[in-house]
């Protein structure tokens, strides 16, 4: 029952959102090695950290990017997932 305040939606309950996983840049398919690809698909450092995540607001159908701390569950930043954005992930 957490709250999150989103641009143009205001303060919303997290229960209106669907978690879309952490934001990750897909490696270029043309050049990627098998190992790199497996890393992208399966392996990661799952330790507690601040990470950028996809969150989908079901009633409006808008994708957001949250910057969330997976240790404290605190959401530091919220923004629309805009086309062509690039994030450090």
């Amino acid at each position: 029952m957490k709250f999150v305040t989103c641009p143009s939606l205001g303060k919303r309950a997290l229960s209106e959102f669907t978690y879309g996983g952490r934001y990750e840049q897909e490696p270029a398919q043309e050049t990627v090695s098998e190992k790199e690809w497996a890393d992208y698909v399966f392996y990661h450092n799952g330790a507690p950290k601040v990470q950028i995540e996809w969150w989908y607001h079901r009633p409006t159908g808008i994708w957001f990017l949250f910057e969330r701390d997976t240790l404290t569950d605190r959401i530091n930043k919220v923004d629309f997932a805009r086309k062509g954005m690039t994030h450090e992930a």
Binding site: S8, K11, A13, E16, T60
Partner: protein, 162 residues
């Protein structure tokens, strides 16, 4: 103050996507509408802005839209209801949203009883118009009605106002 909910039939509901929709809005007699705001344009008819290139209109006649402008129009058959009386009292039991944030004129999209719905936040005292996907319509209606019947909170309030 008792609460009534009645299904409402609307003439033509259309979902428009594409460029130059402000002209369409203008043709309906509205302008400078912010995202997630609505305006009544005529009796019961309204337009709402859902995005830079997206509007939701409820009008008598289908709008003509221009192919070359890459405007796309889609018919919608949403299930729509009118809620009169202490609609906030009912909403408090089926919707987690904090309505203290809204102003009359807001087009609000929220989860109600597990279903995505849209609301036309009315002027104080006016009834609330809300709608959802047609295939959820019956569930939506039955759920709200059942809530009105069983809720002690709402009953208590009814007594207060008698």
């Amino acid at each position: 103050m008792s609460i009534q909910i009645v299904p409402k039939a609307f003439p033509v509901l259309m979902h428009l996507r594409g460029e130059g929709l402000d002209e369409v809005l203008a043709s309906l007699g509205t302008s400078n509408l912010d995202i997630f705001q609505y305006r009544f344009v005529a009796n019961g008819q309204f337009v709402a802005k859902l995005g830079n290139e997206e509007i939701f209109v409820c009008v008598e006649q289908p709008l003509d839209i221009s192919e070359e402008k890459k405007q796309y129009a889609f018919q919608r058959g949403d299930a729509i209801f009118e809620l009169s009386g202490d609609w906030k009292g009912l909403m408090a039991e089926v919707c987690i949203y904090d309505f203290r944030q809204t102003q009359p004129g807001d087009f609000l999209m929220v989860l109600i009883a597990g279903v995505s719905a849209w609301l036309l936040i009315p002027e104080e005292g006016a009834p609330l118009v809300l709608g959802c996907d047609p295939t959820y319509g019956h569930y939506f209606y039955e759920t709200l009605v059942r809530q009105l019947e069983v809720s002690p909170f709402l009953k208590m309030e009814c007594q207060d106002d008698d």
